[in-house]
């Protein structure tokens, strides 16, 4: 019998990109996943504190979170945020040695459930480009699962940025730059959007921070849709 899953939403999806969290919950329900969330009690994974050099606070916040999740006795955690994913996988292991649960990014989770998912997918006729989030790709080595999921959708034409996978350009929002220097962050977002292949209908990313920054950076200048991976998958499922 499959184990209970904790869906860790992450701060961006809880407060800024709520449609990503909604899409993930609807997909989990559709796939009959026995899952729970921490709701209001979720708290912070510590990622932004680690990335902005506030290490002592990062350690205390993440220790708290580690204990909170451990006390649920759930071994299977899934998140839609690559920042949380990387922090809980890498930084927690570095700091606390043993982490009593396994974290997967939603793209890995859905990829592992492709048998159940496939039957739900209806065609989307569009030229789609996938953007590799830094935390998911370069930092955690997850490049192919999101692409495989996109390709599973009938009629989707998956295009690539010239620089993709380990050479992908950043969306501009990483490492605390978006809060320290919002002007720089938006400029980088625009410059990465400028590399989109001609004819792109949908830019798909797999990170709430990337989605948010691309939407802001684009400011409706280029006629494209910017969506997160679970949002695209849910749409293919008729959601």
């Amino acid at each position: 019998m499959p184990q209970k899953v904790l869906y860790w939403k992450g701060c961006m999806s809880r407060f800024r990109t709520k449609t990503i969290a909604d899409s993930i919950e609807r997909l989990l329900t559709l796939l009959n996943v026995d899952y729970t969330t921490l709701g209001e009690k979720e708290g912070c994974c510590g990622s932004v504190l680690y990335r902005t050099g506030q290490t002592a606070d990062a350690l205390s916040v993440s220790k708290n979170t580690l204990e909170k999740i451990s006390s649920l006795n759930i071994k299977d955690v899934v998140t839609g945020c690559p920042g949380c994913f990387r922090t809980m996988s890498q930084d927690y292991t570095n700091a606390f040695r043993s982490v009593p649960f396994k974290v997967r990014h939603i793209s890995q989770f859905l990829f592992d459930m492709q048998g159940e998912l496939r039957g739900h997918l209806r065609p989307i006729e569009a030229k789609v480009v996938y953007h590799d989030p830094c935390h998911l790709g370069r930092h955690m080595g997850v490049y192919e699962e999101p692409r495989a999921l996109i390709k599973m959708i009938p009629k989707v034409d998956l295009l690539e940025f010239k620089y993709n996978r380990n050479k992908a350009l950043c969306c501009g929002s990483g490492g605390g730059v978006r809060s320290a220097f919002p002007e720089i962050s938006l400029e980088i977002s625009k410059s990465t959007l400028g590399e989109l292949p001609e004819g792109t209908d949908i830019l798909v990313t797999a990170c709430p921070f990337c989605k948010y920054n691309f939407v802001e950076g684009n400011n409706r200048k280029i006629k494209i849709e910017i969506v997160d991976l679970p949002e695209l998958i849910l749409r293919a499922c008729g959601g």
Partner: protein
């Protein structure tokens, strides 16, 4: 702590973001570089193996820096050159001032180490006339600017601006035609090489077992600088030392494709001693056609400290190809403002050790830790890891941006960065 450290850098960043000329120059350079490098690497598949060997060479060599410097200095002295060791920038400038004196004409080829020790100002204050001869350095010298890239120091100046600068210098109109602009520099600098009393260069790599300096270049100016004047002074960081000539040749193969996207540089000069001849009665005389004197200054200036810092010593492997800078999303929009005396992510680490951590306290907040630099680095240097570590040290010293402090307070209070 007041927030001057942060707001002054932010102002500099904003100026760069809004300077269309500089952005245009930079973006043209980025696209030509990446295309050329990708092509060069596709022509040199064996380089994959060599760059990994170079990583091993550097891992070994930096641990032996001090020993290698002693060996190289002995070899240089044996072959009638002079070797010096400067612990910091101040000592290096003193050695230069003694060697150069005053009222001299000095020609220079590009050397970031001379920028690091603020050499030009010191020599000029002593009444010397300095000519930068690398085209990029020449352009920014007459514009009174600072270099903004380690390989291509005037990367931010588009041709239209170069034309304006040269027109002013010559007192006649120079068109923004690139070959014509290069011609102007050639014509202007030609006689300076032969009139100069002293030539100053850096070195890209030094083979300790023979004391041989390698100078890699494309313009041919470093050849003139190190050969035409009667005195050649070379200054180089101690991390440039590798044990053997064979090791040095490996570094020489890796640098050009990654630095400028060419298969091999137009020129690689190997210099082991002053010029000499024994053609008359087998009697050895120094100063035949080349310099009579060769002086080599090995500079520490923070490098030993870097070596003793286990979390930072990887920065010493940097060959200074500058490839990571063209690939850095932040450098692409911020150019020379993203760093201090060295640029980009790796440059922030280097600036911290050679100029002081406080000098990069704000610049470091523009690094997204995206990790692209590590992917394109021929030595796979883990820059983002060092950046996070340096950032953490800076925060301990109180260099924390207001916004980042607010985020922390929100997290501690409400469990999320928005405080909602």
């Amino acid at each position: 702590m007041s927030d001057d450290w942060f707001s002054s850098k932010r102002d500099e960043f904003i100026k760069w973001l809004h300077d269309e000329n500089r952005r245009r120059g930079l973006s043209r350079a980025v696209s030509s570089y990446t295309a050329a490098r990708d092509y060069a690497l596709s022509c040199l598949p064996h380089l994959e193996k060599i760059r990994k060997e170079v990583r091993k060479i550097k891992e070994y060599a930096v641990e032996q820096m001090d020993e290698l410097r002693k060996i190289a200095s002995e070899r240089i002295t044996e072959s009638h050159g002079n070797a010096y060791f400067a612990r910091d920038a101040n000592e290096a400038r003193k050695i230069f001032l003694e060697l150069v004196g005053s009222n001299k004409i000095v020609v220079k080829s590009k050397s970031l180490v001379t920028e690091e020790i603020h050499l030009n100002g010191a020599l000029e204050r002593n009444g010397n006339k300095i000519f930068e001869t690398d085209l990029g350095e020449f352009i920014i010298q007459i514009r009174g600017e600072k270099p903004t890239h380690i390989i291509n120091p005037s990367v931010h100046v588009p041709k239209e601006e170069v034309a304006k600068t040269f027109s002013k210098l010559l007192g006649r109109e120079v068109k923004p035609d690139i070959p014509e602009l290069v011609g102007v520099a050639r014509e202007y600098l030609r006689d300076k090489f032969c009139k100069a009393d002293i030539g100053i260069t850096g070195a890209n790599v030094v083979a300790a077992n023979t004391g041989t300096l390698f100078i890699i270049e494309n313009e041919g100016n470093a050849r003139f600088v190190s050969n035409a004047p009667p005195v050649h002074i070379c200054i180089t960081g101690i991390e440039k030392l590798v044990p053997t000539l064979e090791d040095a040749f490996k570094v020489v193969q890796v640098l050009p494709p990654y630095a400028t996207g060419i298969l091999m540089s137009a020129y690689v000069s190997m210099i082991t001693s002053p010029s000499r001849t024994a053609d008359i009665e087998k009697t050895l005389v120094y100063g035949a056609h080349g310099p009579k004197e060769l002086h080599v200054i090995f500079l520490d200036n923070g490098r030993s400290r870097m070596l003793r810092d286990p979390l930072m010593k990887e920065a010493l492997y940097c060959l200074r190809c500058g490839g990571c800078m063209y690939e850095c999303p932040a450098y692409r929009v911020l150019g020379g403002s993203f760093g201090h005396n060295y640029f980009g992510g790796i440059g922030i680490i280097w600036s911290a050790f050679t100029a002081g951590e406080d000098k990069v306290a704000a610049a470091i907040d523009a690094c997204m830790k995206c990790g692209r630099c590590k992917e394109v680095c021929p030595l796979e240097i883990d820059v983002p890891k060092m950046i996070e570590c340096l950032k953490s040290r800076l925060v301990e010293k109180g260099y924390l941006a207001d916004k980042h402090r607010m985020i922390k307070e929100n997290i501690l209070k409400t469990g999320n960065p928005f405080g909602e």
